[in-house]
Each structure stands twice: as C-alpha cells, then as structure tokens.
Symmetry: C2
Subunit: 144 residues, 2 copies
Amino acid sequence: MQLDKFSDYALRVMMVLAVRAPERVSAREIADTFAISENHVAKIATVLVREGYVLSQRGRAGGLCLAHPAAEISVGAVLRQIKAPPPVAECFAAGTSCRILPACGLRSPLKDAQEAFFTVLDGYSLADITVQQGALAGLLAAAS
Amino acid sequence: MQLDKFSDYALRVMMVLAVRAPERVSAREIADTFAISENHVAKIATVLVREGYVLSQRGRAGGLCLAHPAAEISVGAVLRQIKAPPPVAECFAAGTSCRILPACGLRSPLKDAQEAFFTVLDGYSLADITVQQGALAGLLAAAS
C-alpha cells in the first residue's frame, strides 16, 4: 500500500509553500528542491490551483503560494480532493477487467480501508506537518 | 493512495485458492484467469509459500493450495506480511533522498494512516471476501 507519487509530491509542494509563506515560490525552485522536473511541478500546481489550495501568479514577481493559511488546510482533504490517477485498486477505475469483480468481496473492505487512511490524515493540517518550520526552511535553503 | 500491484494480485491468487479449496490449482491457470504472466504468479506464490499462507507441490498432480482454512487467514495480516516492495512513501525505504526528511512532519501521520488501512483489513478473513463462493467459482470457470 502506497501513497501515489502525484499525491506525495503534491504534499511536498504544499509543505514548501507553507514554510515559505507568504512568499511566492517558483515551480523551478520547487523542482530543484526535490530533484524532479519543472513540468511535474507545473502539473501538480495546476491541480492544486484548480482545487483552490494554491494561487499562481505569472510574471517576474510571480510564483506559487498557499490560498489559505496552512493551519486551515487538511492533509486528508488535499489527498481526497486531488484525486490522483491511480485508485486504491484497479477495480475502482472505469473499464476494469478483473474477471471476479461481480462476486468479489474485497472491494468494500478496501474502500473502508482507504477511508480509514484518509480519516487519519484528516486529523492533520498542513501547519501540523510543517511544525518544524525553522529546520524545514534551513533544509530547503540548502537544497535549492 | 493505492494497493500495490503485487499485494493486489497476491490477494487475488489467494481468493482463487479459497474458492477452489481443497483442490490444487496451477500457476498457469491462475495466470490465465487474471490475464497476467505465469512468471508473475510464480513470484507471488514464492512469497505466499515463504510466509506460510500457501502450499506448493510440484509435479503432474501439483499446484498451489491454501495452507490454512480461508476463515483463519486475515486479509490485513497477508498484506502486512508479504511486505510488497513499494513502501507507503519513498521516505520509508532505505536510501531515501528527500531533502526535507529530517524535519518532515508527514512521516508519522502517514505511518498512522497506513496502520489504520491495515487495521480495517485485519477485520476480514479470506473467507469473508470470498463469501460469494458459488458465483466466484462460476466466474473463475468462465475465465480459464
């Protein structure tokens, strides 16, 4: 069981923005921090902007910033809302081909398990997971 | 958040064995049922045999079968024990490179969320998820 890469990096992007708030941070800088492509950060940012978690401003003084205070952003809600492509199992996607699906008893337990996973993360805000703000700022500065 | 493919198919393999018990089923037949390679089924079977969930017998009358009654096999325990390769996030693996790990506040919540996921599945046995035994047997017969 794993957090998909898209969700993983979406949370990392938001952690950077929380630590640097209220500054605007460029996608380039975030990409360098995590050694991923700027294109990947841009895709994540598009979804976070669409879901109302992040603001994006173009231009020289532009960049990304949080749309709300970190304390008001729930980690669980972010993960539920960004609806990253891979579902908990193949059979939760459209056009599934698993032969035993019509009589499978695993689907409902898996759904409940997924819900329990998110419920735990509903209990944490973005501020909670960036509580070591000073140390995080130092690590980010060293990385970029 | 998703169940990794290895765990997903490990549960499917065990569901087939539960439905067909006490019969022995060949890796070839299971592979055909789910349209995956026999090699993939063999890899899964090796882990399930090692963890004591499945017995494997070579030869003409050989094949795979459950090592215990389905009602005594916990779905959560199987998932915890097979320890499928991808951890919940990159930072749970050895040699992680995430720059913010030393001050990251997401690791502990993610660990708790993963535990909650498994705890829900601890509440189900292999017999629970194959309760529609007759219907499953029909679907398996049609697929192979």
